[in-house]
Symmetry: C2
Subunit: 205 residues, 2 copies
Amino acid sequence: MSAFEQLFEVISTQRACRQFSDQPVDDAAIEALLRAATFAPSSENTQPWVFVVIRDAHRRAAAGALIAAIWNRFGREYTRARADDTLFNDVDAGLGQGGVAGAPVLIVVGGDSNLSDRSQLKASVFPAIQNLLLAAGALGLGTCLTTIATLDTDGARELVGLPAHIDPLALIPVGYPRRPLGPPRRDSFATKTHRETYGSGWAAV
Amino acid sequence: MSAFEQLFEVISTQRACRQFSDQPVDDAAIEALLRAATFAPSSENTQPWVFVVIRDAHRRAAAGALIAAIWNRFGREYTRARADDTLFNDVDAGLGQGGVAGAPVLIVVGGDSNLSDRSQLKASVFPAIQNLLLAAGALGLGTCLTTIATLDTDGARELVGLPAHIDPLALIPVGYPRRPLGPPRRDSFATKTHRETYGSGWAAV
């Protein structure tokens, strides 16, 4: 396979995992994910990403309670009105019923506003998160990109002791999937792409 | 090599390219990048990404003028005060002197606020952008993640006719590098990672 085909195999099989097995994840695997994350591009190469790795059972339970509280307060109703049953039930089990917090490792990802202007933080941190997720997939680990915990900024900061200049941006469970994950469901790029101006579509030329 | 090692080879050699050769980039390559982009995760699987592919020389020149105007207005001074000489000169040549807009293809990436709440748009679009950049690297193409054009929201919308509900989020030049790119310069993940709480560091256990 070409370098592109090898990459595309990892990219095209990425799928959110919200139920994890009890199999532990060792530090070597976590370090591999973090090393991959930190090669991402960032505004002015400021590398404003911050990772806090949670293994402690009490702290994972606290993360689960934080997530469930936000989900119950407004997430469930919002998603119920918008997602299909399959997606809703999967997300509800993950966020409302402890699936995500059941992973052996949780990674809180923050952005350091001392290193990069807040207007640029997400543009500089989410590419690193995607590297981390792809690396996990290549190692057979399940992950899920969640941002719900960061909707309670104070709660997310308190969870891992982030100071005021570090914005919580995501919480990522890492573990081996309890069940095999199916293929992702995605619309064709052609429905999302335009030539020269929006609305032109992407027909073959 | 393992799947992880293959992926890490692509991830760890990604570097911003701001000077391009005249070698054309065909539609098949662009479609490969876009296909990779659209397998990224998104909030509630809403897939709110929008891509507008620019090849027209007049529109590329207009993009270059937009970028240079913003750069000259405040970007140059801001970056001059923060970046080292090597980075500053590279960025100045790319944004202020037409390097980025000299790529044969520019891709404006937007986020559709009808599909995803604006608070979640960047978290749902920048992972797709990173997929696109990695795919380009695997094909030997140079790219650069730029957001400067989107600081003039009206100007960026006008460039490719984005309606008000599509937020411009990035502009990415795509082409073959004029010169080989060196290795990226990144701090060790260990300086960015903590155990359980921020400030704890990542010493081996």
